[in-house]
Symmetry: D2
Subunit: 348 residues, 4 copies
């Protein structure tokens, strides 16, 4: 914490501030300039800047950022790579996670899995518990949905990510999935984050729609401090005054996060834009900006999807996007599943 005194601050005011900081357990270093005195305070603990700011003679208190520790690059200079079997997130390959918004029935899940696998996705995504802002909307299939998603992932040799909304769902999701997804609305559900610090599977942590990058990394810290070192950050758009787009995808978060933290970061262009014709441009931009992966909604019949149909791509659009991404990735020294993999199982 750095305390900037007013130009007219008296010696006794300065001494009072120093005394208060020492009382809070801080070491204080004083710089007396021609116009101002500046006090640098360091120590354990997180003293309340507001209390100092209100003392007489104080011009302002500047907080040294980065209250997170384990999530910071200072703590761990090298990139973290999250490994799930043969899939590595945060390495040279840009990993694409794709699938429907919600599991609706077996054939819908199976056809989506086959389509995204064929195009090069390595992780299947799909929801079983849906957080809907209206209590009157479709709320998901629950465990039955998880079972359908798992079966389809197995058939296509993909890993599976699905959203956990509450600590009561951790056990059942753990049974079926490879990655726990924490939605934007739960980014500061600290009870849930703390619990996910104790699971032994990666956590994909979406940024809250009004969360700063610092708050997002602090939420990652909750998981990391519980002992779970595998956190994947996911940018999905922030809320701004612009109403033409659903949310404003903050791609500049990618280079900023890369500088501040060692954790991998992926981007979800489907939720940010809310319209399938805007997903491809934003997916391409995310990869060009350095994202470690993408999370994309794909549905074989999006016009009849039970949720998020408007933002779900047709398989043919997804195929084309993947081809475009294969051209872009080398510009930043990366690759995207160069050979569409042979699928396994289901009907074979």
């Amino acid at each position: 914490m750095v305390v900037v005194m007013e130009e007219r601050a008296t010696e006794s005011q300065i001494e009072q501030v120093v005394a208060r900081l020492v009382e809070m357990g801080m070491d204080v270093h004083r710089s007396t300039g021609v116009t101002r005195t500046v006090l640098g305070a360091v120590g354990q603990g997180q003293p309340d800047a507001g209390l100092i700011e209100m003392l007489d003679g104080v011009h302002e208190v500047l907080r040294i950022s980065e209250p997170y520790k384990l999530a910071s690059r200072t703590f761990k200079p090298d990139d973290t790579t999250v490994t799930i079997g043969e899939v590595r997130i945060g390495g040279d390959e840009v990993i694409v996670m794709a699938g429907p918004c919600s599991a609706e029935n077996e054939s819908q899940v199976r056809s989506a899995a086959a389509a995204v696998r064929r195009a090069g996705a390595k992780i299947f995504r799909g929801g079983a518990f849906k957080p809907r802002s209206s209590p009157y909307s479709f709320q998901g299939l629950g465990e039955e949905g998880l079972r359908l998603l798992r079966d389809a992932s197995n058939a296509e040799n993909m890993k599976l990510v699905s959203e956990v909304m509450d600590i009561s769902q951790i056990e059942v999701i753990d049974k079926y999935c490879d990655i726990f997804q924490v939605g934007a609305r739960n980014m500061q559900n600290f009870t849930l984050l703390r619990e996910l610090g104790h699971v032994r599977k990666p956590v994909l942590l979406k940024r809250g729609i009004s969360a700063t990058i610092e708050e997002w990394l602090l939420s990652a810290e909750y998981v990391l401090s519980g002992g779970n070192t595998e956190v994947i950050l996911c940018e999905r758009g922030i809320r701004t005054f612009e109403t033409a787009t659903r949310n404003t995808l903050d791609l500049s978060a990618i280079p900023f996060v890369k500088k501040l933290s060692h954790l991998p970061i992926v981007v979800d262009p489907s939720h940010a834009t809310g319209r399938r014709d805007k997903v491809a441009p934003m997916a391409r931009a995310a990869v060009a900006a350095g994202a470690d992966g993408l999370l994309i909604e794909v549905h074989c019949d999006p016009d009849h999807a039970l949720s998020d149909g408007a933002q779900s791509m047709f398989p043919s659009q997804f195929d084309r996007l993947m081809a475009e991404l294969r051209i872009i990735a080398p510009a930043i020294g990366r690759s995207i599943c160069l050979e569409p993999v042979a699928r396994r199982g289901w009907g074979s």
Copy 2:
């Protein structure tokens, strides 16, 4: 839903849109103007506007707002009054809820309760489970804190409101408190809201820092639709680009909510401003704008509070604020606990 066709839309495009709306279960009314055709679609369910927006020939889709029902003034034209014993929130009297951020120990809780009661507060506030953005901050006393808060409330003849962060805490909070507070970060924790729809005590629902008024009312709808009709809304500041203030207190939400909904609305100026010298101006403004109550942090020794000290008022500041509010309230035909009430119990 109103579908505005492009000026150049062809007859066959229009027919296709109509067919799609009918397939979605809507009744469609068509208005053919000189320049454009406009389609009005009404019906049960909530068709996905995005799907229609992407059809050929569609200029834009205008959504008719108010997907909430029970929370709307259309559903219930008269103001809702939440009654807890002799305290009525939403009536002629402006109700002040005050107390410390967190329960720290018995004497701190007791002195705060005595101080706010003397000045005219009718409801005691205090936290036992604290949602902190850093995992390394003070997290609250838990049930022991609730017990201290309850004892002090009883001693001072006040009602008690305290925050619930997770469904696992509902039972213990129900044992000690009169009102369940849902914090800003949990405004869209639908699992929690749904469960609070089944309790038989009022719920004070804080607005999320980036929640629109419509989303806030939809969250209230989750509680109401579970059968709990006693929801109190609480404005506590929204996140904007301004960094001088912690959050921007949106007082215009008061007249807007009053027009859209029948639910009472109170204001928390402490969290919005984050600085005790800014609390009084905003508290006065809230009452002048028509708020049904206030939620204010008061601490007898805020400089040594374990949390939120900078925004906690000294009892003397709170006394003065209450006196100012007693002048303002009549301007809008209301009162504020005109006679400081005689306290009961504790030492008497």
Copy 3:
């Protein structure tokens, strides 16, 4: 400027930063803590923080705020009062400026002036040059409008404020008006501000819809640094994600500005809310929060106004608001034109 070094910064990195700061003409004070080194840099000029931030070993650069000088309370501790004849803005009396959005014709201007004067307004407002976001909207009457506004002000013994949009309009507005209004869109039109630094009449400077308080005070500094010491700040709402209200009136700006600056601050609730039924609650709140005055749109036939009809109050609503404000003002030790003044001239 305060430079916070990384925990792992080497001695040679620190020395390089010091050298660079000295080269920029700064005096540097070094505090070596257990975990970090912090460098305080003071001096004339405004070195580019970004350049330092990119040097090796630098964790972050904290900028000491308040690059404005003349506008700050440090420079002038006492409140500035702007005096125009017998009207004093920034004193004990809350000054109300009211009138139509635009001058449309003589009878409209005259009737509005009479109505607002009767209720207690001391300054008449009205536009002759209108900044409209669409090139196809009504653009104002120009000089003829100014003449109508001046005649009505004289008839009712009021001062006159009107908007200047461009340096080419300064001369004609100076001929008719007592106060130059700078609109929100021109808050950073530095060419205009610089020129207004040389006029000898007060400038009412509206806050830009996305301007921080610091930027607003810097814009005031442009006027002050030209030699014009009479600047009145006007809060009129900022742009946020909320769409229910037109803009979000930031009333917390009042106590913040009062702390940072000596300049008077008034509030325009008409443009912030955009709806006449929301103007009164926000006007009351502004006075309760400590505003030095109000700027309110009133029209005798708002339903047929050529601009801003929806936000213009009826005279009867304005009368009632003034009565409410007379109750509220004493709560903060102020008054509002206690006796509705006898009007002069025009028909008498």
Copy 4:
């Protein structure tokens, strides 16, 4: 305009709304549904939605967007290409405009021009009149700066773009430049825009930091409606709550603008991010998202630049960026000056 009546609206309320709309010159189409009546109103002029919204029985008024005409794709379905000699903006080639923030002296301008030309830039950028938020900052060299920029552009066979801040500068800028740049702060300086509608050179219109896409297109309309059909839009970041980045570059604006308008759109990643190490990722992302061009600050000695040094790239960084862009552009069927062009003149 579409008027949605309340569910309980009476027949007489509906008739009153219809009468008012007709009085405003609108044709009204009425749809009577089971639960609600919806009125579609079309006609010339732009009736004030707020006035209708306040009538009894009205639930809400939905405004049909696109008050701009000439800027819309409805008016002109084909892409506009802005041609300056052999340079075409909006065609298959992505056009890069680069150069220093400000012209400082001859050698600085010449070296920057040579460097960006060598790497493939076709348009030179540089400021002579600087809009600075503080009156105490460097304000530019004025006409002398323009002369230096023009000479360097000629020597390197590049076109020149420079910022115009006020109508008084139009004449001198017209004498030296090929494109008039309108800065973000002037996006709603309607006096300036109107005047630029009469010049016969392209206008590069930056988006205001809090402007919606609709407002931006309306500002373009001001220029277009004056007869100047050559407007180039420039996204340069919007203001959000995030403070880690200077502004949030809204790349989703690219596909949205492309759908709504026929005008070309370029991106300025330098001002959006404010840090040179963030420019390359955002520039790559912009091209991947479909931008028609880039506007980038490059300086041969950015550490000693008189303005914006922190966001100016070194020539070597710019070279590398151009190489990356040449890989990305083909992914969307475009090219970027494939062969670094031979430079002309200056020393040859």
